[in-house]
Subunit: 100 residues, 2 copies
């Protein structure tokens, strides 16, 4: 399995998480038609009020990289920037499991 | 959506990650027949040599809780303990996305 995984944590300004959640759910909808994207889930953690975690699994790293250059993605990234105060990413090598 | 998500980071003793990966992939296989488990993926991060991240999505929190009491799970947890030096968990509320 040469899949590619990502956990991305977005920190937002106070009171702006819901707006960024809506944007990221729009990104997730756009992923429905993106080849190579196996999983794109928008989550909120139970212990932080201004954070969002996005879980991604891609069929290979190049599919993920290509997606970032799509015009639609670039527009959404620009719209998201004002809400975001910080980003952390954990890059993963998925070895196997259920549901992928 | 009232699903339940988890990122679990296992830290292992030096040189024992592969053994724990094998155990966790066995857990993942067992999940194939567990109702309520939508996703259970075993990952290694690209920047740490003694860590494993497991990504889980459950249909609801009670399904996850019930799974921990299964005899098979309890046996595997006991077998895993000697390899593990630490565990961190991030509990998540999945709001939506692709692939779930």
């Amino acid at each position: 399995m040469s899949k590619f995984g990502l956990y991305t944590k977005f920190k937002t300004h106070e009171g702006q998480r819901d707006a960024l959640v809506d944007l990221l759910l729009a990104v997730a909808s756009g992923m429905e038609s993106v080849e190579g994207c196996d999983l794109y889930v928008v989550n909120i953690p139970d212990n932080e009020t201004n954070s969002i975690w996005v879980t991604e699994i891609w069929n290979d790293p190049s599919a993920h990289k290509a997606s970032l250059t799509l015009e639609e993605a670039r527009v959404l990234i620009e719209r998201a920037k004002p809400f975001i105060t910080g980003i952390e990413q954990i890059k993963l090598n998925p070895l196997g499991g259920k549901g992928i």
